[in-house]
């Protein structure tokens, strides 16, 4: 479904991705783990078109989208819940969700919104509240819900556990597993490898802009190097 071939992305003259290749198959949940600055978020920003790669190919259903503008990428079926959540602070929960459906004109938006409220009942309780007044965990739910409102074929999630109380992280991860079970393909970026390897099928380990290791998630959890560097055991 998604294939990255040796992409190299720059911020000015700084090469953040030094040739990343990975693939995600239909229905999978794939994770990208690594420490701060490894290039995880840059990979997702490259896929979404926010910081297009200077070299390399990004194939989505066989079509190269490396130089396609962000709004077209959303239209093709890739949406993202970005790092730091980035909810529209002065809009209500419901307005935020509706922004997620910005490109859609079909009649099923209401049904999809109801589905998001089903996945995150907390959002329904807060639907008229301004996003900026909610807790980090609630905003994270909103950011994921908002990305779901685009009805993506591929959902990109960037650090859904960052800065959130552990009890909420668990709830969010249960929901991520549920979204994947219901048929949405997921590419998950996470610093917290414990959670990420728990929910995903396969994983890639990123270090300073390069993929250094890839395996089934269950094998990665047993890998001594991964355990030492990312699982803190």
């Amino acid at each position: 479904m998604l294939e990255l071939h040796d992409i190299r992305t720059f911020y000015g003259n700084i090469e953040a991705l030094k040739g990343v290749s990975l693939s995600v198959d239909e229905g999978e949940c794939v994770t990208l783990i690594g420490s701060n600055g490894a290039g995880k978020s840059t990979t997702l920003r490259s896929i979404s078109g926010l910081t297009p790669p200077r070299f390399g190919q990004i194939l989505f259903h066989g079509r190269d989208i490396a130089r396609v503008p962000p709004q077209e990428i959303v239209r093709l079926g890739i949406s993202q819940s970005p790092e730091g959540r980035r909810c529209f602070q002065r809009m209500s929960v419901q307005e935020n969700l509706d922004m997620g459906a910005y490109l859609r004109r079909d009649k099923e938006i209401d049904a999809d919104r109801a589905h998001v409220y089903e996945l995150f009942p907390r959002l329904q309780e807060r639907r008229t509240q301004k996003a900026g007044t909610m807790s980090g965990g609630e905003q994270q739910m909103l950011a994921i819900g908002r990305a779901m409102m685009a009805r993506p074929k591929l959902l990109l999630l960037d650090e859904p556990s960052m800065g959130i109380a552990p009890i909420l992280v668990e709830r969010i991860y249960e929901t991520i597993a549920e979204i994947n079970r219901q048929g949405t393909t997921i590419l998950l970026v996470e610093q917290n490898a414990n959670y990420a390897l728990g929910v995903s099928h396969r994983g890639y380990v990123l270090e300073t802009g390069r993929v250094v290791l890839t395996d089934a998630s269950s094998s990665l959890r047993e890998n001594p190097e991964v355990q030492r560097a990312y699982l803190g055991t």
Binding site: S48, P70, Q71, P82, F88, R90, M91, Y102
Partner: protein, 352 residues
């Protein structure tokens, strides 16, 4: 930001004062002049009609500033840039109005119906010309600098301002040009309780109020309006929603320019004198209005525009017009000291 970490007893006492009475101090401050002169009028003439006249004139002048100020505030809200060329976009609106009168042969001899049709056509022409001009300015001078340091587009904005002033200079020469007084703007339209409302006042409000209402409805209710609000709050998040941020920014410049064009027409009809330098003064006043009201906030820009209109009229009429700029900016300084984010200021993106 650095300064905030340095403890200063004076700044904390000032902050306490702001928090305690900020709003009431502001309201009191704004009411000082009208109340003082109202009492003076009452004790001298027994009625308030002079003050009433000041307020009506202030309202129509304020309408022009409000329309121009919205353009500053919209653009600042979405790309955090002070569009210094905006005053000139307003000036070009006035020039197009004067030119268009000549083109369609509109004179004071046209009957009321002919005049109305002519003016509506001129309004459309001015709004279209200024709107398109503003979009072109953005395309040429700001868009290529989107990723550049913030000073770069600021300086190209100053550059565009001077370039357009020179266009005005070439167009109509360097001295103020009188234009035909189509609506006999100083003629009294009606009198109410001793307050005279002139044709110009009626025109200013009849154009401004519907335009402001339409604009607010557009931004609040339409898809594009939502895109504008989302882009203003977080451009990258807006891109992830599938919003074409460049198009949205262009639309913002179009809207701001259209309002400036309408203001240009009102100004031309109201003042019956136009010249290439009018945009500089008007731009400065309207920018002040936008900051006073809270830059980025549309209601604030309108409020700021009207407040400055009132202050100017009261000062012109009571204190002396040579003092007016000093009075206006003294008010600005006081308001800023008590409420640095402006009267209705929201937190901007930078402030969180």
């Amino acid at each position: 930001m650095e300064a905030a970490t340095v403890p200063l007893s004076r700044s904390t006492s000032l902050r306490r004062l702001r928090e305690a009475g900020g709003r009431y101090v502001l309201i009191a401050l704004l009411l000082v002049l009208p109340v003082a002169y109202g009492i003076q009028d009452l004790s001298q003439t027994g009625n308030l009609s002079r003050l009433g006249n000041n307020l009506v004139d202030g309202l129509s002048n304020g309408a022009i500033w409000a329309l121009v100020a919205i353009g500053y505030t919209l653009v600042y809200g979405i790309i955090e840039l002070i569009n210094f060329a905006h005053g000139e976009v307003f000036m070009i609106g006035s020039f197009v109005a004067a030119g268009f009168f000549g083109t369609i042969g509109l004179t004071a001899a046209a009957g009321p119906a002919g005049l109305l049709v002519g003016l509506v056509l001129t309004l459309i022409a001015c709004m279209a010309a200024s709107g398109v001009l503003n979009v072109m300015i953005e395309r040429v001078a700001y868009r290529p600098l989107r990723g550049a340091p913030k000073l770069a587009p600021l300086i190209t904005a100053v550059g565009m301002s001077f370039i357009l002033q020179n266009v005005g200079l070439l167009w109509l020469g360097g001295s103020p040009e009188g234009i035909v007084d189509l609506i006999r703007s100083q003629e009294v339209f009606f009198t109410f309780a001793g307050v005279e409302v002139s044709n110009g006042d009626v025109l200013a409000l009849a154009v401004t109020i519907p335009l402001i209402l339409l604009m607010t409805a557009f931004i609040g209710g339409t898809r594009l309006g939502k895109a504008m609000r989302a882009t203003a709050q977080d451009p990258d998040a807006a891109r992830l929603m599938g919003i074409n941020v460049d198009t949205t920014i262009s639309m913002t410049f179009l809207l701001g320019g259209m309002l400036a064009g309408a203001a240009g027409l009102i100004y031309a009809l109201y003042q019956t004198t136009i010249w290439y330098f009018q945009g500089f003064t008007a731009g400065l006043i309207a920018f002040t209005a936008a900051v006073m009201g809270g830059i980025g906030n549309i209601k604030g820009a309108v409020l700021g525009g009207f407040i400055i209109g009132f202050i100017q009229q009261i000062s012109d009429n009571r204190i002396g017009s040579s003092w007016t700029p000093a009075v206006v900016f003294a008010y600005l300084v006081l308001i800023m000291v008590f409420k640095p984010s402006g009267l209705l200021g929201e937190q901007t993106r930078e402030a969180g």
